[in-house]
Point group: C2
Chain length 481, copies 2
């Protein structure tokens, strides 16, 4: 017989109870949170679109010391909401700056559920019915944008990591890519694409920036010239990266031209569709996105055009198998492979990562995909409408009309210098934003400062867009005075 | 005067209301979720530690068609909980497999709050008081593990991305790293480190696998020999990667030896502390982790040893400035820099990403850091206790005693072949796990199959560890019996 009695006094368990939260405790803590979040949601239409911005001096708390002991729930929750006020109001229906998404509360509830259940979806064997849930959502994405049945993908934390995955797939599809390979990126591309190429090891002098045409799309003639010159120089085109909606102007590249050139030169075609890709769910959007699905891979951002809270991107590949890492290891401490479900950790850089699929699945299942499609159609219509309205104003110039739901405009100032003209557009933006009902930001297009309107939030509807037009025109009156 | 009347009939807004959720709606949806999560939490002690595993044939749902229209809340929420059952029970107090964390419900509530507020923390100007919150947490991490004041870091999705960030920092600290640089990884290192090096562009033949000593630590004599040979061959040591607690056996490398060798050869020292790093918060853990803080960078996983739900890692650097990307761009569509707060997107691969800091900040503030320290001390004591108990059993051999809270053991089978001995240990594991009260997994150490006990979950206390000992010894009776 073996000894069963403990041979030493069991140590006391100092942490017992300290970190645990039972059902009643969870219910009480969540109720305290909702007591703050519900008024926050209900007051959104009246909150300043800019939030507290610019931030007053002294408004940002000083660095805080390590909290050795706990604090009361009310104090801690109030502090979060107070800190969140000192920020761009990315949740406002009037937030038309950068690329808004809004943050669907349904997805936030999905995160609560995912965190409490805490299942691991990086390998199929650990939670196969939830991995199936994620493969379902990714297959739905592929179907929604028009990719073929063998397409598939992985969830990422956002567009940057989705673009990184596309670059890695391109790099690893071509032996010697870092030695002789070249990358082609639009001058209007999001810097995430160039950054991804640098992270993947491409030297700066192998990353070509291709000039754009009058519509801020890659100049395909110029791309062809650079490709041919590189091949003549003994280099090997590895990756052509297009944009399905640039951040600056919403420009959509000519994917048929890019796909033809990529095919001719044996390069991978990746499309950054972080902002625009999901518009392919709509009839009008799909027409505007042309041959996007000829791409080998596409980066999508559910936290932009599926309106999710920040933290969910996706990389899709026309042929899912091509995302699989050639040297995907099988460590002895990992569970066995599943015959019909992928181990997502073999298809992207992450092993352990959050259960991101639920944030899409829950609102898709509760609301239906048609609700999302309708919302995207609405954004396209709203952008077209305000674009037409502003185009009728002779003191404004539409610098980039809305291909999708982003447009750019500037104050028309005949006879003014470039600096004077830019200053006027900046003044217009300041006037508009000071009202607090909408927030617009500017950018630079071909050296010219322009104001942007990005209509992406699920909370932005016609009433606020009419208000936006009125505020822009009234502000124009004031500055041209 | 300019026309103010709309020139076209405003389009109807088909999405209006469809995606929105007001305060009352959020309260109702969350209540429905809690009605499922509260019983889930309260039944955890009685749930099978393995979950429904192995998965019965037909238990995983078939691929589902695109949900065009919505479904009732109860149907959808029930489906999530049902699917989560078919999974390893990573939340059970008896889950001692892999590297458990458990999933603090406090952090899940933080995710709910973060999602509804939806603030953007990738650049300081967008939410400075929340970026301050994240810099506070990262500074607390540095303080807790004993890093100097100029240390800092970034949050990541998990250990893989934290290790990737360390590899990128090492690579970019040395010009020409991909041309002549070499990487040194333990034979016992987590494959995330090698994967990160491959993602960063290091060729497989530049990644050296260094043999380990009798304690499964990098053999520093062997490391020195390989370093010297590489330098003689004209290569440039770029990165030495150590482990603060390997997954297989919990081994902690000799960081003083590694730091000396790295310094001699001008290489960056990175430590994968995804499992073990936070034990430096405790007196015993810090002693076991020796010179860990001599590392240039350390990967930590709050979703392991701070018990968070999956989805939060962190990369710390001794000198935060060295994480900054040399070519961090400043795109014209981004807001201006803040003078005193970092733009985290310049220090890691992500631009838009979730507000991960809140998942740590909320439980730290509510419970106090001492509660976490006590829990980590408890895990060390529990592992030491069961290690001592099993060591007294002559039919078992402790293959790797607990340096931290992981230990490995095997059935001692005098005169048996290696295959027979491994089969006995596998049978022991099967017997133990069939009881459903604890779940252990195995791994291979130097060609030998061993059973592992990983005591990491915040829900695992002395009662379950006594039960684990009894089950192991009773199962041993049965298989040897």
């Amino acid at each position: 017989v073996t000894a069963r009695a403990p041979s030493a006094t069991p140590p006391t368990a100092p942490g017992t109870g300290g970190l645990e939260l039972d059902g009643a405790g969870l219910r009480a803590l969540v109720a305290a949170a909702i007591d703050r979040l519900a008024p926050f949601l209900d007051s959104l239409p009246d909150q300043r679109a800019s939030g507290v911005h610019p931030v007053p001096a002294g408004a940002v708390p000083a660095p805080a010391p390590l909290p050795l002991t706990g604090s009361p729930v009310d104090v801690v929750l109030d502090e979060i909401v107070d800190r969140a006020r000192i920020a761009f109001n990315t949740t406002s229906p009037g937030f038309m700056a950068y690329v808004p998404g809004g943050g669907l509360p349904y997805a936030a509830v999905a995160d609560l559920i995912a965190g409490v259940l805490n299942r691991y979806v990086g390998v199929a064997a650990a939670a196969p019915a939830l991995v199936r849930l994620e493969t379902d959502v990714l297959r739905w994405f592929a179907e929604l944008i028009g990719y073929p049945a063998e397409a598939g993908g992985v969830f990422t934390s956002g567009g940057s990591m989705a673009n990184f995955g596309g670059v890695i797939a391109a790099r690893d599809a071509r032996p010697g890519a870092l030695a002789r390979g070249t990358v082609y990126v639009s001058a209007e591309a999001h810097h995430a694409v160039t950054k991804a190429a640098r992270l993947a090891g491409f030297a700066p002098d192998r990353i070509r920036t291709i000039a754009t045409d009058d519509h801020y799309r890659i100049d395909s003639g110029e791309l062809e010239r650079v490709l041919v010159a590189d091949v003549r120089a003994g280099l090997e085109p590895c990756l052509v990266a297009g944009s399905a909606g640039t951040v600056n102007s919403g420009a959509v590249d000519d994917f048929d031209a890019l796909a033809d050139l990529a095919a001719t030169h044996g390069a991978w075609l990746h499309v950054d569709g972080a902002y625009g890709g999901f518009f392919a769910m709509t009839r009008a959007g799909r027409a505007a996105l042309g041959g996007m699905t000829r791409a080998d891979s596409i980066a999508l951002d559910p936290h932009k055009t599926l309106f999710l809270p920040y933290g969910t991107g996706a990389l899709l590949a026309r042929d899912f198998a091509r995302l699989r890492q050639a040297d995907a290891p099988h460590a002895s401490y990992l569970p066995d492979k599943n015959a019909t479900l992928p181990d997502f950790s073999d298809y992207g850089p992450e092993l352990t990562r959050p259960f991101r699929g639920l944030r899409v699945w829950l609102p898709f299942r509760l609301l239906g995909v048609e609700t999302f499609r309708d919302a995207l159609d609405e954004k396209l219509e709203l952008a077209r409408w305000i674009g037409n309205e502003l185009a009728m104003e002779p003191r404004l110039e539409i610098v980039a009309p809305p291909t999708l739901s982003i447009l750019a405009f500037a104050v028309r100032a005949e006879g003014a210098t470039a600096a004077e003209r830019d200053a006027l557009t900046r003044r217009l933006l300041d006037e508009v934003n000071a009202r607090g009902r909408i927030l617009l930001t500017g950018t630079v297009l071909r050296g010219r400062f322009v104001a942007r309107i990005a209509i992406v939030s699920f909370r932005t509807h016609m009433d606020r867009v009419i208000e936006a037009r009125d505020i822009i025109l009234e502000s124009l009156d004031r500055i041209t005075g």
